[in-house]
């Protein structure tokens, strides 16, 4: 396939998923983050012209751009995950089930890395090796973080 056609196909197939990943990680501008990730991928397409390389790169880029965005927002004294999710839940999901609302709230209380691991595992369905590659950590760390995240999630749900 022509390289640019391959890029276009990847964009069509993955843009929405990358945007949603940024949103689930707590970014308040998921579209901008997904766009920026694709512009950076476009720059390096000659070396990453392979879905096996491009998708992990995109995921890692979205995770890192989301972290940067959250750091920036913390500096300007906002707490985007909770604010954004509460606002959107009120506006777009007034009828959402209470159960999902509680999980949403509990997710917002987890540490950044715990939330990332859970989103990559239970939303993107990535295996532990792919999560490790995306986050730049060891597979053992992924296992431990997932385990701690589930314990904390359960605890927050019980407290809530």
């Amino acid at each position: 396939m022509d390289p640019m056609a391959a890029f276009s196909a990847l964009f069509d197939g993955s843009f929405e998923a990358m945007k949603r990943l940024a949103y689930l990680l707590g970014a308040d501008d998921p579209e901008n983050i997904a766009q920026e990730a694709f512009v950076r991928l476009h720059d390096r397409w000659h070396t990453l012209y392979d879905e096996n390389k491009a998708l992990p790169y995109l995921r890692a880029m979205v995770v890192n751009l989301s972290r940067s965005r959250l750091r920036h927002l913390r500096v300007v004294r906002r707490t985007p995950p909770d604010v954004m999710l509460d606002e959107l839940s009120a506006e777009a999901h007034a009828m959402a089930r209470q159960e999902h609302g509680r999980i949403r709230e509990a997710l917002g209380k987890l540490s950044r890395r715990q939330r990332e691991v859970l989103v990559l595992r239970y939303w993107m369905d990535l295996d532990q090796a792919a999560i490790a590659e995306t986050l730049g950590i060891a597979v053992g760390t992924v296992k431990a973080t997932t385990s701690h995240a589930m314990v904390n999630l359960r605890k927050h749900l019980e407290e809530g």
Partner: protein, 252 residues
């Protein structure tokens, strides 16, 4: 899958559905790529302007000093031949800027790769160049970095200058490619140098903020290639040697 995992999966799927689709995402992508391309096209022009300014900074004072005659010789800033006539200094100035850098070996040294200009800098009003080169001495190959004033031209005279530092290069084990870890050059805006065996064609590295950068070939011998990054990179957390087909040979 336990019950909590199922609830979590379901809640995440529902949350993801809250994100409305983007109807003009591809058009926006094209706009951003075009805007970035325009910015990148302007950059070489700016760099050329900066380079021209540096050349002017070097050439003009050199010409002025040389046309004044013996004053330059007394200061020891130019070779004796350059001050004999009014026209020769110009030739000397040009030739000192244009040729490839050369290394004058000390007794007992063998040049493995000639110097490569990593960066220029200005400190206390003195314009300096930072070079990297490799030499073999007492059976050991070393990668050295030296910073010297631009008045020394493109010749690194090992008999006169002391390198900023030298790092030993040890041949990698069978099946490995990197000769040593990353060598950082603080004198040249934190440029990183990597040494790898053939058929390494490129180095891909991940910075501490998660972005990726490539190291390009800057010196080559029969046994290894030295790759350099751009300056100002964040500390690499991982790097890979890639062959010409882009296949990873070794990760670190």
């Amino acid at each position: 899958m336990d019950e909590l995992e199922g609830r979590l999966r379901s809640a995440l799927a529902e949350m993801a559905e809250e994100v409305p689709p983007s109807h003009h995402a591809w058009a926006e992508h094209q706009r951003r790529v075009a805007a970035k391309s325009r910015r990148d096209r302007r950059r070489p022009v700016l760099m050329a302007a900066a380079a021209a300014a540096v050349v002017a900074l070097i050439a003009v004072p050199t010409l002025i000093l040389n046309t004044r005659g013996t004053g330059t010789e007394q200061a020891g800033q130019a070779p004796p031949a350059s001050s004999s006539t009014a026209t020769e200094p110009t030739k000397q100035t040009r030739s000192s800027l244009l040729p490839s850098p050369k290394y004058v070996a000390k007794p007992g040294e063998t040049v493995v790769t000639e110097p490569f200009l990593l960066a220029g800098s200005v400190r206390n009003g003195v314009i300096s160049n930072t070079f990297a080169y490799t030499v073999r001495t007492a059976g050991q190959t070393v990668l050295c970095v030296v910073t010297q004033p631009t008045s020394e031209g493109q010749v690194v005279d090992g008999t006169k200058v002391h390198p900023d530092f030298c790092a030993p290069l040890n041949r990698p084990a069978q099946g490995r490619y990197f000769w040593s870890g990353a060598v950082v050059v603080p004198q040249a805006s934190d440029i990183y140098l990597f040494v790898a065996s053939p058929p390494t064609d490129k180095i891909l590295l991940r910075e501490s903020d998660g972005s990726y950068a490539a190291g390009v070939r800057c010196m080559q011998s029969g046994e290894f290639t030295v790759f350099c990054t751009a300056g100002g990179l964040k500390k690499p957390t991982a790097y890979s040697a890639l062959d010409p087909a882009g296949v990873a040979l070794e990760h670190r």
